[in-house]
Symmetry: C2
Subunit: 313 residues, 2 copies
Amino acid sequence: MSLLVVGSVAFDSIKTPFGEKERVLGGSAMYCSVAASFFTDVRVVAVVGGDFDAEAEAVYHEREIDISDLERIPDQKSFFWKGEYGYDLNVAKTLDTQLNVFADFKPKLSAAARQTPYLFLGNIQPELQVEVREQVAAKLVAADTMNYWIKNTPDELREMLKHIDLLIINDAEARELAGEANLVRAARAVLSMGPKRLVVKRGEYGAAMFTNDTYFATPAYPLEEVFDPTGAGDSFAGGFMGYLAATDATDEAAIRRAIIYGSVMASFNVEEFSCDRTRRLTYEEINARFRELRAISHFEEGHMPRRVTTREK
Amino acid sequence: MSLLVVGSVAFDSIKTPFGEKERVLGGSAMYCSVAASFFTDVRVVAVVGGDFDAEAEAVYHEREIDISDLERIPDQKSFFWKGEYGYDLNVAKTLDTQLNVFADFKPKLSAAARQTPYLFLGNIQPELQVEVREQVAAKLVAADTMNYWIKNTPDELREMLKHIDLLIINDAEARELAGEANLVRAARAVLSMGPKRLVVKRGEYGAAMFTNDTYFATPAYPLEEVFDPTGAGDSFAGGFMGYLAATDATDEAAIRRAIIYGSVMASFNVEEFSCDRTRRLTYEEINARFRELRAISHFEEGHMPRRVTTREK
């Protein structure tokens, strides 16, 4: 089955403690679609400006990602983000944001896009997420969001949450959305807002998933070098949705495996700038890291010797 | 096999967002020994003052913990700590510390104590940890420490690390000890200082273990109510060392299971003040939570469909 991804396609200028680079490929839809393309056919809905040239397009052709729904506005510029990370790579400092073409983005979907069975609504205005969701006859809809929308458009965000099956956010966002410090209680509050499943990204600590009846958690793949964390969350979403779309399965076991594939794709993505590492991945590398994550978190049934005190006898 | 625990036996006054209580039982050796007593015979080496009365002693008798090596100084007071937690329960604010009897503590070990095969050196001055370690013919020695010793007695701490098999600290301590923000690299640096294994406690995110060749990580048991985090790390150490001593196994598989039992004991401990929850645990409750942790982190082998682009054909 195929996957439709709506979000941003952008240029980023990034500085980390390990290097800096100007105007690399970025945007939630870019990161998500490149990661998902290793699993399934992907179509992108986004908007770009005249600066989206052949070089920027190359990765989409290379990964055979369908960009026929990519709107182009030749006399404007693409979305641009400039950010910096300190040694705490969990926190990005935004130095500049230029919405450009994104300011008036109204997603336009082709007939083919409307028939896509799996839909990922990347982090854009909640109203636009709803607009897209209503046009697509998808069997599974997942969405991301961010603190900006939680704070500035809470009503629109609440409305969006009623239209999706699954929300994929990080733990700070889950806490902020629920107004609750404890993640277990925050998750229950988020689930009461609409989505049947909540996937919580925890960066170097891994990921967790909540439903009303089940809980799953995995550690992250241990990395010695986190070179550039930009796009980790969207790469996670790409691996996650790509695996579900490819297997056309949405049961608990499949979704747990999807979280592992999401973790794997995120772990590769942060090893280099932009999608530089992800785009040249192989099937073997992805599966090898999946197996490593299994080995890393494996432990056998316990056999606890029972010590009985006199009182308990 | 039995376990020897050296550390503090104290009184704590604790305030959390959920309540406060004056002069409850505390101290690293108390938390560790009560948790370990569900698995194996435990002997405590520590010092207390005249305020360590029958009520304070009760839990040791109830759990049949050997306190014949507990030194008593009737005309002085026990170690006292007063602390407060805000909504971020990961950070304790120390309001008062009175070393009292602890200021001149010189651990004195009985002949029986010196023959204990499993030894846990709770968080005390590194020189004292070394002194105890050298007197005990143990087959496995684990130690804890804290930021205070990392900062103030770095040479003594480095010396201590050469005398132990296993270090159990939290992730901030591992980073500080190694002077390295990345945990994987920090772990490698810590292992080069002496211990063959490093167990890293990550609070609500679980725990990880590093050797030079292996890595293991587990999420934490998800709790809706973390009532009082005091003693979580020592309860972890108690479950961990108690299980190893009880099974007399120190291979990778056993140590992974020990980490799970440690996580289980820590998760119970934080549900109430002091050791109030831990002391009335049952064998069935402990094993049930072990099985839950297994279920929570379980996922099956992946079957990733291979999407091959034209270029890759």
